[in-house]
Amino acid sequence: MNLWAHIRAWFNGIFRRSEITSELDEELRAHVQNRADDLVRSGLPRAEAARRARIEFGGHEKFKEECREAFGTRLLEVFLQDLRFSVRMLRKSPGFAAVAILTLALGIGANTAIFTLLDQILLRMLPVKDPPQLVLLEIVGHYYGNSSGDSVVSYPMYRDFQEHHEVFSGMFCHRFTTASLSFGGQAERVRVELVSGTYFSVLGVHPALGRTLTPDDDRVPNGEPLVVLNYAFWRQRFGGDPAIVGKTLLVNNRNMTVIGVAQAGFDGVEADRSANFFVPIMMQEAFMGERKTPLLTDRRTRWAQAFGRLKPGITREQAKAALQPLTHSMLEMEVQEPAFRHASAYDREQFVKSQVNVLPGSQGYSYTRNDLRTPLWVLMAITGFVLLIACANLANLLLSRSAGRQKEIGVRLAIGASRGRIFHQLLIESLVLATLGGLVGLALAFWADQALMAIYLPEDSSGLTISTTSDARILLFTLAITFLTGIAFGFAPALQSTKPDLNSTLKDEAGSVVRGGRGGLRQALVIAQVAFSLVLLVGAGLFLRTLTNLRGVSPGFPVERLIGFELNPWLNGYTAEQSKDFYQRLTENLRTIPGVQSVGLAAVRILQGSEWDSGLTVEGYSPSRPDDHPEAYMNKISPNYFATLGVSFIAGRDFTLQDGRPVKKGPDQDEEESTMAVIINETFARRYFSGRNPIGLHLGFGTDPRTKTNMEIIGVVKDTKYTGLRDDIPEQAFLPYLAAGFTGQSRMTVYLRTAIDPAPVMRAVREKVRAMDASLPVYGMRTTEEEISNSLSTERMIAGLSSIFGFLAALLATIGLYGVMAHAVARRTREIGIRMALGAEKRSVLWMVMRQVSLLVAVGLAAGIPAALALGQLGGRWISGMLFGVPATDPMNIALAALLMAGVALLAGFLPARRASRVDPMVALRYE
């Protein structure tokens, strides 16, 4: 048969159905009339002829049906019929429909909401050409030098890879940084990606306007002041001005020319820090500061991420194998360089053993992704459980509904509907419910994601863009789970209710609820719900305890009324001398603000996850193993920093401005050789000076055998947290910020302790800074309380959501239990009436029902507790990073969850039990 005829027939069958049916009627009528005419001609009277013709023709409707079937649209017709019927049935019981749709909307909505986040944060690939081909190079092993960032290499190393590799069709490197942008008389802090000239061509990102960077723009250090704007930034900051190309921007006090706007939707290769614009990496000094050895030639500083695009057919493993010899020869060459002349034999030996790693790069790089990976999967699992519980609940509801519809279904079976047809129709009813639930769920998910973003994402989230609107992927996901959900909760009840069960219709169905048959399935569902809910409550308990534990952790100083903010005058063109002067004037000016008690500066903002650590040489301490040399987290601070934070000294004294100044000890010494003052913390003193008085002893920067120990310990302070509340207190060493070698080329954090409410002080601080230099952006201004609260945002989100879902699950399980018991009691009304007529006491009836409730709950808990323990055992290591101060299998926590679950469930069972005990024997016996 030709395809066209087929399609036309289908089309006609669907869209011209009523026309075809009436034509068919006309044709059949004409047939019967023709036949009657012939019969009249053969001598029969007209009335008799007409009757005979009709009889000869046979069942009109039956043949019509067969004709329609021949048309191939019967299936669709059946479907539409069932659909109409299902909608009618649901409209007849709006209460049931509402509960069902709401339950489903919560279940599906929760899944869609979490999946939206999961998809965007964990699964989405970069919007570039063929992202799976992209890889990120990483050197793992013992490093000798400075390193800044994750998975970074030195720039010369990147160039070596680029020139000698054979596995890539192209390579690029990039470095994320921030800058100060002045345009149209307004200064602001912007996010910038320093990129190689190959960046756009290797990624396959096209210009939306003008042009992008090419290797020709990547030749002269400091000589390529060009800017490619991010599309969204161009629209937002420059109003989408098409004449922007060729204009000049003042970036870090340097004129740079806009050459183009990148393709819409491309935000750079860092997923959680969208770049406002892209600048050739040759310009790095304008962004990262000048050094004695420029970063572009320094092999001892790793700071740029190197990406490659694999040639077609090359796997990551093949690339790794091909790059390893190249890496090894680079390391062998590096270790011969003068930079290693003081390195120990151990350091050299270990250094050349480093390996190259080829990481997947299709998603670019993201710090957030690594932090949120486990939490998001855990949340996804939790919502999956919630949906399962919702399904069980609906299956239960449908079962009790089908018990009520037994008569209707019986009649339909009796008048000739096939079992398959009724099964089909019941399943469609479930799918209609699921679809409606899915639609409401989608709306709910959108709203929930917006709320989540608002509540849990810290305001200062440095350009992590998460869109809460659903796209095709999200819709597809929702559609899939909606369909699966419909089948999952509808299948068993539909099968059950179409089972011709003569026995139970003849016999009274009443009996103990803890018996087989239809009741058995319902009980199994309730037991499963109780067990699942318990697991979720246990999880919620763990995350709540984690949050409470973390909230109870003190950073080592009082957090109230402590303000911090950041600035970086160097980005506005300040020289070292100007910066030094600026910071001193700033400190004095801020101190004059009413309500300010104390002002202190630090180079590293603490409790932010950032760290600066360094290997040290400690006077009088020799490491037991060569790889166990002393290490400390460092900071450069001003006098009064500790006083501002409220950290007291155990021994010695604070810095004075004098400590910052280089001291020449004799005419031949240059500044380099002068000694510098250093303060250490308690943990450092304990670890490396156990018992000895550290004051007056010396430290040296670096771990080489002949390191000069030219830093004199002048004080020991009490311990404070450094990177975050979760982390143990590390060994710390503090240097004066104005010490020799101060370049002012990095930002400073200013801390203020106030005596009054911080809000008005914050305003006054901005005023003061504006008065000193109006073009200097002040950023990251917040109280330490806010900071701590921000740092716990993930924990808060997990604790909040897991509690909501845990209680939702428990609520659903409770409703399920209530439904089963209420139904059982209703069916047994007469039996209970008889019992009471025969003298059973209220209390014993109550107990009879409660015994069954307890049995269900007990079995549910008996299944749930080992499940929770097993999950804790198996998943404990996996989620241990998400917990704090509470083991995954904490018995106390499980006991509490079980108690809670049992309490709520027994309460839900008590209602029908009480109703049973209040049955009036007379009414009950007249019942039915």
Partner: protein
């Protein structure tokens, strides 16, 4: 109509195609034509004709159009398409071969073995 035979399953389509191949017909006409060309030997359930006609139309072997019958009634006329003609030839050949084979099988005498 003395001895009428029930038609074999599957042969109705072939008979309809043959009847229509002799000239466009409406449904009742198809019935009369089959009676006529089988000399009244085949019995066709009248209603069953229509599902078969629908099927053949859907398969593209027949095409249908509305017209006026001899007695001035509006009627749906069926005629053979070119694929229908081809199909009729194939089916007729097949049927004849089958009939011949069965006839020869049934004619076999014991001594021929």
């Amino acid at each position: 109509m003395t001895s009428q035979a029930q038609i074999l399953p599957g042969t109705l389509d072939l008979l309809i195609l043959k009847a229509v191949s002799l000239g466009p017909l409406h449904g009742y006409g198809v019935l009369l034509r089959i009676e006529q060309i089988s000399h009244g030997a085949l019995l066709i359930e009248q209603g069953a004709l229509y599902p078969a006609l629908f099927r053949l139309v859907r398969q593209g072997l027949l095409k249908a159009s509305w017209g006026t019958s001899d007695n001035n009634r509006r009627a749906k006329f069926y005629e053979l398409t070119s694929t229908g003609r081809k199909r009729l030839r194939q089916e007729a050949d097949g049927w004849n071969r089958l009939a011949a084979a069965i006839a020869s099988a049934l004619d076999t005498q014991p001594e021929e073995i």
